[in-house]
C-alpha cells in the first residue's frame, strides 16, 4: 500500500474526508487484465457513438454539396422556399422547429416533473404502478397515430375552443387569429404529449435512485412533503433531470410525422403562434421522397445538417446553464 497523501483527500457524500475512490481502488487492487479489456471494450463502444455521429454528418454534408454551392450563406438568411426556381432558405423552418420545441418543453417539463414526483413521492402505493403504466403507454403509441389523432381530434378542438379562447383572453401579437387549428401551438402541444413519457420515466428513475436517507433526514427536521422534495430529491437529481430534458428536447426537435399533420406546413415566419408554420424535420419528411433535382435534394439534406447544428448549440446552452446553477451547490 502506498502512503496516505493528506492533500488528496476529498469530501464524500456524508461530509467526511476520505480518499478519492480512484486512489482507494489503486491502493486495494492491482489492475488486472480483465479491467484493461473492460475499459478498452467500453471505450470502443463509446467511440462507436462518435463514429455514428460522424457518419451522419458526413452523409448529410456530402448530400448538401449542390445546395451549399448554389445558395451559400443565403440559405441561412432567406425565407424563400421555391423548388421550381431552385431558391431555398431555411429561416421559416428553423423558426418553426425552435418555437414548437420550446412550447413542447415548456408544457412537458413541469408536467413531467410533477407526474414523476407524484409517482415517486406523493401518491399512495396502489396508484403508482397503474398511473406509471399509463404514462408508459403514451410512449408506445406510434407517431403516425399521434399525427392522425392530432389532425382529427386535437386540431378541431384547438380551432373551435382553445384558439378563440387564447385569442380573446390573451390576444396580442402572440395569439392572433387561428382559423384552422393547425399551428405552431398545436404542434407544440402534441409534441409535449409525445415527450412527456420520456421526461417522466427518466425523472422517475432518477428520483427513485435518491437514497432514502436524504428524505428521512429532511422529515426528521420537520419538513413538509414539498420541502422534503425540494431539499433532498430535486437538488440531488439535477443532472439526471437535465438528461431527461435533453432527451425529451431531442425527440421534439426531430419529430416528423405527428408534427407535419398539425403544423400547417406553411413556410412562413409568423409571430402569431396560432398561425400555420413549418419545421425542419417536417419539410424533410414531406418533400424528400418526392424531390428530384440535385439542388432540391441537397437543400433538404442541408436542413438536416442545420438541425444537427442547432441541436448542438442547444445542448451547449443547456450544459452552460447547468454548470452555472450547480456551481454553488457544494457551498450550502
Amino acid at each position: 500500500m502506498s502512503s496516505l497523501d493528506e492533500t488528496k483527500l476529498v469530501e464524500n457524500e456524508g461530509g467526511l474526508k476520505q480518499a478519492p475512490s480512484f486512489f482507494l481502488f489503486k491502493w486495494t487492487q492491482s489492475i488486472g487484465l480483465g479491467d484493461v479489456v473492460f475499459r478498452n471494450l467500453t471505450a470502443f463502444f463509446a467511440f462507436l457513438v462518435l463514429v455514428l455521429a460522424m457518419l451522419t454528418v458526413a452523409a448529410l454534408w456530402i448530400n448538401s454539396g449542390p445546395c451549399i454551392k448554389a445558395m451559400g450563406w443565403h440559405f441561412l438568411s432567406s425565407s424563400d422556399w421555391d423548388p421550381i426556381q431552385n431558391i431555398f432558405g431555411a429561416v421559416p423552418f428553423v423558426y418553426g422547429t425552435l418555437v414548437s420545441s420550446a412550447i413542447a418543453l415548456l408544457i412537458a417539463a413541469p408536467l413531467g416533473l410533477g407526474i414523476s414526483l407524484f409517482l415517486t413521492e406523493l401518491a399512495p402505493m396502489r396508484f403508482r404502478d397503474p398511473v406509471a403504466f399509463l404514462v408508459e403507454t403514451l410512449a408506445a403509441i406510434p407517431s403516425v397515430v399521434y399525427g392522425l389523432w392530432g389532425m382529427f381530434v386535437l386540431a378541431p378542438i384547438m380551432r373551435v375552443y382553445v384558439d378563440p379562447f387564447l385569442h380573446g383572453f390573451i390576444g396580442g401579437p402572440l395569439f392572433g387569429e387561428g382559423p384552422t387549428g393547425l399551428s405552431l401551438f398545436t404542434a407544440g402541444t402534441i409534441l409535449s404529449i409525445m415527450i412527456l413519457p420520456t421526461i417522466t420515466a427518466i425523472s422517475r428513475e432518477v428520483f427513485e435512485a435518491v437514497p432514502n436517507v436524504y428524505r428521512e433526514s429532511a422529515r426528521a427536521l420537520g419538513a413538509t412533503s414539498w420541502e422534503t422534495i425540494q431539499l433532498s430529491v430535486l437538488k440531488a437529481s439535477k443532472a439526471g433531470i437535465v438528461g431527461a430534458m435533453m432527451l425529451g428536447l431531442g425527440r421534439a426537435l426531430g419529430e416528423t410525422m405527428a408534427v407535419t399533420m398539425v403544423i400547417g406546413n406553411t413556410p412562413k415566419v409568423d409571430i402569431n403562434l396560432l398561425a400555420p408554420g413549418h419545421s425542419m424535420a417536417s419539410v424533410i419528411a414531406n418533400e424528400f421522397t418526392e424531390a428530384t433535382g440535385d439542388v432540391y435534394l441537397a437543400a433538404l439534406s442541408e436542413i438536416g445538417l442545420l438541425l444537427m447544428g442547432i441541436t448542438l448549440v442547444l445542448n451547449i446552452v443547456a450544459h452552460l446553464l447547468v454548470w452555472a446553477t450547480t456551481r454553488n451547490f457544494g457551498k450550502v
Binding site: 421550381i84 426556381q85 382529427f152 380551432r159 384552422t180 406546413n265 406553411t266 424531390a291 433535382g293
Partner: protein, 340 residues
Amino acid sequence: MMKSFKKILTGALVVAAVAGAGVAQALTLNGAGSTFDNPIFQKWFYEYNKQFGIQVNYQSIGSGGGIQQFISKTVDFGATDAFLTDDETGKVGGPALNIPVVMGAVCVSYNVPGVDSGLKLDSDIIANIYLGAITKWNDPAIAELNPGVNLPDLSITVAHRSDGSGTTNIFTNYLTKVSVQWASSVGWGKAVKWPLGVGGKGNEGVAGLIKQIPGCIGYIELAYAKQNSIPYASLKNRAGNFVDPSIDGTTAAAAGALKHMPPDFKVMITNAPGAQAYPICGFSWVVVRTNQPGENSKALVDLLKWMMATGNGEVASLYYAPFPDSLVSKINAAISTIKY
C-alpha cells in the same frame, strides 16, 4: 444479467437462422414510386401472383423516391406521376422508357356550408383563388357562374399539398396552362412555392383539411373525394362545357390528347381538347430500362403486356380511367421495343 443476456442472444440467433435459411423464392420483381398507383398496383399484382406465381413487390414511397431507387438500381421499375426529366434520364445510365399505365382525375373540392354539390368553377376563378386574388366565397365571379346558389360571406381557406406530389404536378400544370400570371409567378412541378394557403400531407391530409375547415378549397384525387364524400366542382373545360371529374371525363381527355401525343409519352394531358374532356387529369408512368437482358426484364415485359391487356379493364372500380384502345396500341408498340 449474463443468463438473461444469453437467453436473448440465443433467441435472436434462432430467428436469424430461420429467417436466413430463406424460403424458396419465386421470381420477385421490386418496384417503387407513386402513391397514386398504389391501390391498383396492389390489386393487379395480387391477381398476377395468383395467376402466374410471380411476386411483384411494389412500395409507394413517392414518385421522386421511385425515380431515385430506379436510378440506383435497387428496384426493377419505378412508378412516377412526373415523367423523367432530361437530367434524370441522363442519370439512368442507359435507355429508358416512360410507359403510361394508369390515369386519373384531380378534383377541386370544397367545403362551403349550404352548398352540398354542383358548384361550377372555371379556370380563371381557380387560378385567382390560388393566387389570393379571390378571397371570399360570395365573390361576384363565383356568383356569376352559379346563379341561384346561396354563397355565404365566408373567407376562402386555400389548401394545397405540403409534400411533393404528382397530384400537385398535374394541378399546377393545369394552372400554368390557363393562367399567364400563375405561369410567370409560380410555375408547375411536384412542389411549388404556393402564394398562400395551408399545406396538408398527402391527399388524405388535404381531404382532411377540406372536411374540417368551413370555407376550405383544395385539390385531391377523385378516389379521395368519392370515398370521403367530399363535394367537387364542375369545371369549365377548353371546349366551354362544364364537366364533372369522372372516369369518362378522363378517358375523353386522353383521347383528346392523343392527336398530339409524343412517341415517348412525355405529355401532360391537362386542359385537353374534347367536348367531354375533364381539364385536370394526368398519366402515371412506369419507368423501365430497355436495354437490360435477363429474366427480370422478360418478367417485366410480360407484366406490362398483361397490364395493358387485362389490367386496363379492371381499373374503373378503383376510380382510375381505362385507356382508350388507340392509346393501348401505341403503348403496346413501345413495350415491344424493350429488349430482354
